[in-house]
Symmetry: C2
Subunit: 275 residues, 2 copies
């Protein structure tokens, strides 16, 4: 088995814009792209190195940016993805933003205000660990906003993302799709491993009890907000290694599509006497 | 030759607080800590791995942070340091802030306003590529502020840093001390290497022409702002590998001094039924 091409990874994982989307048809344990784990490891390693190179060119260019949006239930591997896919990426030109429950100051503005504020600087790769999608996910399940407000938000989000893209931000949206059983196993690990216990939050169990409602909210969000300019990719996330490899392929693909080149500053070296 | 201990690196590089400081006595090509380049490479590699581990614990703890301040003339290797020392550090919990010429919006506030705003979040490592010290360096050399204002700033900066430290921020201040000759060679490289040309800014040559004034401004800043709570370290920066190795020792030392431990969330795992 070879490393699957970026286009085949995209085709396999995308929630096709404008088409009906059923989350239940996506297998969280799907291994068809990377049956062999060692191929996934090799692919991830290669892609991580290329991502680091291309990101440096984007930083030098300083005109465009990439925004990677990671969404998923607790334990689906948002932090793990960041650590693995960007393992070889030095922090220069990287921005990670973890969205937590909004502060009083943030709640005093519209829900996209803090998101816009966290958009990566030109030249940088930004990673959102959770995002504005929480405002149509947890906000919907827990009634933090009225159904009418939630309903408006899908189009608002699409318009906001379109605006970013038209202004030089390439967006990669990944839903880390983990199974209910696998989440149970991972929460169990958190309770017994010293270096994972700090991640355990009793409120995670409340979300777990509302699993079907969260899945329904994800399905709607993906259906409504998988657009041609910013499609959603549904990443089978029960296997950590394969999840990382798939996301690395997508991020690399986005950077490659940008046709990045070392900038030509239009200087004539002969004009400068360093002295 | 062995890897020099962190305490010996500190002792060798520190600008001792409260003592007279003469920059001209610091040799930019000093190799006495790492005579053997391969030892420097080994040391850097080991330290980078430990830094990444300790930073993860600090992130989990979420209560304290580390701020690494890098100052130096153009080409002294601020970006290179970030890329090397944090080569194995994933961007989760890292914040890099490059200070450029202040914007109109920033100039409408006091000079520390934008700096305070960029202080790393609790749990994170922040890196300043340039910093508030520009406000007593370039601001002094180019008369962006009156001599009276500059004079006040040293104490203001000391007070500001003390405030941060008292609120859980450990500060590591490194002056990347490069020689005039070496800078000339590196500027020359930028003019002939395609992937470096974008970094060349004709205004760098203006700063180069004022080398003695910049060195005098650095000397005063270090003398006045090397404090017991946040001493300045003067890093001989003509050798890139040794520069990186020395800074990695200092950053590791700061993290080790914090006695970081995986947090104990005071949970009783038996209380939770994952279901």
């Amino acid at each position: 088995m070879d490393i699957p091409s970026i286009s085949s990874v995209r085709k396999h994982l995308v929630a096709a814009p404008g088409k009906p989307f059923e989350l239940s048809k996506r297998n969280t344990a799907d291994r068809s792209l990377f049956e062999d784990k060692s191929i996934a490891e090799t692919s991830l390693k290669k892609d991580a190195a290329v991502i680091n190179e291309l990101k440096d060119i984007m930083y030098a260019e300083g005109k465009r940016s990439v925004l990677v949006i990671l969404q998923g239930m607790d334990t689906s591997g948002k932090s793990g993805t960041i650590k693995s896919v960007f393992a070889n990426t030095t922090p220069l030109g990287m921005e990670v933003k973890a969205f937590k429950a909004p502060s009083t100051n943030e709640l005093a503005r519209d829900y996209l205000w803090r998101v816009h504020n966290a958009v990566p600087r030109k030249g940088n790769v930004g990673i959102f660990d959770r995002s504005h999608y929480e405002d149509v996910l947890v906000a919907k399940v827990r009634n933090f906003a009225s159904p009418e407000d939630i309903e408006q938000r899908y189009d608002q989000i699409n318009d906001f993302e379109k605006h970013l893209i038209e202004n030089g931000v390439s967006i990669v949206k990944c839903m880390l799709h983990i199974g209910y059983e696998e989440q149970g196993a991972r929460l169990g690990e958190r309770l017994v491993e010293a270096h994972k216990l700090w991640k355990f939050n009793p409120s995670d169990l409340d979300d777990r009890k509302r699993w079907p409602e969260f899945m329904a909210a994800y399905e709607t969000a993906v259906q409504r907000c998988s657009t041609r300019h910013a499609p959603w990719y549904i990443i089978p996330a029960d296997s950590r290694t394969r999840r990382n490899a798939m996301i690395a392929r997508l991020v690399r693909g986005t950077l490659e599509d940008m046709k990045l080149k070392w900038p030509d500053p239009k200087l004539n070296p002969a004009d400068y006497d360093i002295g």
